[in-house]
Amino acid sequence: MSGDRVTKVLLFISSLTILLLSAGIVISLFGGALPAFREFGFRFIISSAWNPTAGSEEYGAMSFIAGTVITSILALIICIPMAFSTSLFIAEYYNGTRTSGILRSLVDLLAGIPSIVYGFWGFYALRPLMVATGLTDQGFGVFTASLVLAIMIVPYATSLSAEIISMVPAELKEAAYSLGATRREVIFSVVIPSARSGIIASFILALGRALGETMAVTMLIGNANVIPKGLFAPGNTMASVIANQFGEASGLKMSALIAIGLLLFLITALVNYLGKLIIKRFA
């Protein structure tokens, strides 16, 4: 066989492996989730019941779907102003300076901190602060989790946005400057509009990460299997309930957890698809 053919076959096998792996994951998720869907039908998605007592078992995913969506979106809302202004600072205002270099490395450093460490920090540093505000009794809850989640996704949104912003062609910026525009005017009328779809994409990517984040959220959200009653009330997310309960689960409960995993997978896929649609519309 010629070298060309060997390469082609090797590449084909690698791609096929990826395809088979993802298909395998989806198939086993479906298989595992089937008993729960058979038992509860569509009600599994809209019900917020979670009763593992033998004999009167009933499971529904709504509390966790609500918890996941609320914490992720809240985290995104908190993340946007921080990440947006930081990326502008790094990639435009102070681009090429030592300050921006240091900040860039710090942002990358934040991205490298393990999730459990964020959870730890949230538990011992942030939670007491939340108690001190008087808004919550124990400091657990949706808001505490979202805050840590926001800090965790800021680095992703920031470094991707910064990348996009620094890709805006110098000649466009120079054109605006040559017309007498100030720096602020160049940034808001030329840089941001040109980078818009990329900036949106970076926030959608960050939302995707927030949806699936597990450990830090588990440690802070309070793990109450109900739809959260307010921003400072405890709740639970899809990823957290799986992490908390899979060890002791069996039978119908295990199937319910797998079904939640499948739903989480579908929601994340949907978010990514929506992100691509938005990018297409703006690009």
Binding site: G96, T97, P169, E171, L172, K173, E174, A175, A176, Y177, S178, L179, G180, A181, T182, E185, V186, S189, V190, P193, S194, R196
Partner: protein, 258 residues
Amino acid sequence: MNNTPQSNNVLEIRDLSIAYEPGKNAVNGVTASVKRNSITAIMGPSGCGKSTLLRAMNRMHELYPNIRTKGDILLDGQSIFSMSVIELRRKVGMVFQRPNPFPNMTIYENVVAGFSLNDIRLKKSQRDEIVENALRNVTLWDEVKESLYRKGTFLSGGQQQRLCVARAIAFNPEVLLLDEPTSALDPIATSKIEDLLGELKKKYTLVLVTHNMSQAARISDDSMFMYLGELVESGRTGTLFTTPKDPRTEAYLTGKFG
């Protein structure tokens, strides 16, 4: 225009040196002048500093903090370094090597971009007039009057470049700097731009950087020849092309280097 008699020289460059890194001058001690309502061509081989010299005239180098400029440039007798940079850039417009209309703006918005970027509010009728005049001046009006509200990036390269000229003259500047404005264009688009420049010099003073000698010979009134950061020779284009004083100018004009 004010009523005080103005000297024939719009721009006076005095002992100007520009360095991208300390100790290495990309432009070295250039002294020259640019006459009103004329086209002055700056020629020379790649890397000779011609674009660097041009970009000093609207203080473009200040966007890049590492670049050091020494010496002075006078616009109508006043040092450009003592003016507000915004005021300067409204008096000295610029057209770039590659057409660069703002991709997020329509043709109409591109022409008045100078006003909208500076938060200058105009009545719709004023804006319409500025757009039509500027586009007529660059002979683009008839080609785009039906599609003013389409994105400027839909136009051909030559049309985009004329749009960029329109954008630069919408402010009615005194001087127009052109940095190899036809190097990305085909011959037909190039000749349209060259004709346009011949018209524009009646109203504005043009400084044209070009690596294309025949272009300089065709359309410029005065020429400067730069080599390795130095202004080797300058004068009337006809004289410089037919009887160059410096052997380096002659070598360049006869294609020995560049």
